[in-house]
Symmetry: C2
């Protein structure tokens, strides 16, 4: 099933912008009268028919809408420190979208070696991953922020807040991510998870997170790379709510 994206939807008319129109008309050779499917990136799937084609875009008439198409019954925000090798981070972003995530927050910690990330590239990756995995909603990406600012801002949020780190801090023993999810209040379906950089979170960051209501977790005894740890956490939430 081939999917297009449109952010120009008005009444029962949908317009494919330049890039999507080129792919639809030039590459896939669609013409007026053809039926196509498009997502709005906000969760809706539109079944529509192409009515006219200009050089720059294509207009289609909407014939049917499906709400929350390919959605999941939880809300998951992953605040993950970008990896030194950005390919690994981009790989995580693609896989997280396939499995089911709502928001990616690149965060920069005390031990981070990378403090910049091209969110435009991440958005492109998420767009194609959402199309490929048949999801109407494209996860959000926010600009990179400091771990401590993220923790501060999250303090008052009403969701299950988890932070994964590797060192053992006597004052507050870590539990497994699965256990943390089992302990979650049944009415709670919103989770955010902090994953540190190659050099792990600093003890200061971990303690600050705990003070702000984050539950310290581990992901088992294996020594996982940042992107692998992040994906295992996404998969744990997905499994908890869906299996």
């Amino acid at each position: 099933m081939e999917l297009f994206y449109s952010d120009e939807i008005c009444g029962n008319s949908l317009i494919l912008g330049e890039e999507e129109a080129r792919h639809c008309i030039r590459v896939l050779r669609h013409a007026a009268g053809d039926e196509i499917s498009a997502i709005d990136g906000k969760g809706r799937l539109y079944r529509c028919r192409i009515v006219s084609v200009s050089g720059k875009n294509a207009q289609a008439q909407i014939m049917g809408v499906t709400e929350n198409w390919g959605g999941h019954p939880y809300t998951l925000e992953m605040a993950v420190c970008p990896t030194k090798n950005i390919d690994r981070y981009e790989w995580f972003v693609e896989k997280a979208c396939e499995i089911g995530v709502d928001c990616i927050v690149p965060v920069s910690g005390d031990h981070s070696e990378r403090r910049t990330v091209r969110t435009d590239r991440l958005r492109k990756i998420l767009m194609s991953a959402a199309k490929q995995s048949l999801k109407g909603r494209v996860p959000d990406v926010s600009e990179i922020t400091e771990v401590k600012d993220y923790i501060q801002a999250s303090g008052s949020r009403d969701c299950l807040k988890l932070i994964a780190y590797c060192f053992e801090d006597g004052s507050c023993p870590r539990i497994s991510v699965m256990k943390a999810l089992e302990n979650m209040a049944p009415e709670c379906t919103s989770v955010c998870i902090l994953i540190g950089p190659e050099g792990d979170f600093s003890e200061e960051e971990a303690l600050m997170a705990i003070r702000h209501g984050f539950i310290p977790i581990h992901l088992g005894p294996s020594r996982l790379r940042t992107e692998t740890a992040a994906l295992c956490a996404v998969n744990a939430v997905y499994s908890h709510f869906l299996m």
Copy 2:
């Protein structure tokens, strides 16, 4: 922690072959008298001291051994159809090793687009992933085999056998991988999982697997790529036994 690999261990002497010796001596500038750590790829970690260095290799004296170092309390064989884009398969192999797998079996199914895979490359990837994730055992890789031959050969094996596919076959409804693991006999710690190609298993393959004792499973509602599905399955086994 930097790790070396040796397959020449005799009594209390350990020899680093040409490639490992070059990395140890030329690149990392180790010399006689230095302490190093090496794995044998079979589960053992050796703490040793370099005693002599030749142009081609390095001899070390073993000072301590740790058995089943970085091991896991289950045995997992992943029989996964190689992806059209081999990078995705190689990525899976690396991640599976990080999390914890014992054997990778590339299999070629009725709908497979790729019927060859360079096992030498996979072995290299597994070796460096094992070192990077601090595991004494390097997972095995077997040569590519036909799905039906693999099913035939597995029929008599005494382990939990699972096959993941996407179509719904009325005769034998699929359960989630988590549920299949929960239902497993408590004394059973050995699992093998069959994951199909981009075009999924054929109905014939699925039915044959079920006749040979494979339990049909799903990995939740998301539409996962082959390599993502395979990694989610590895993570499910890891979580089941370790969290």
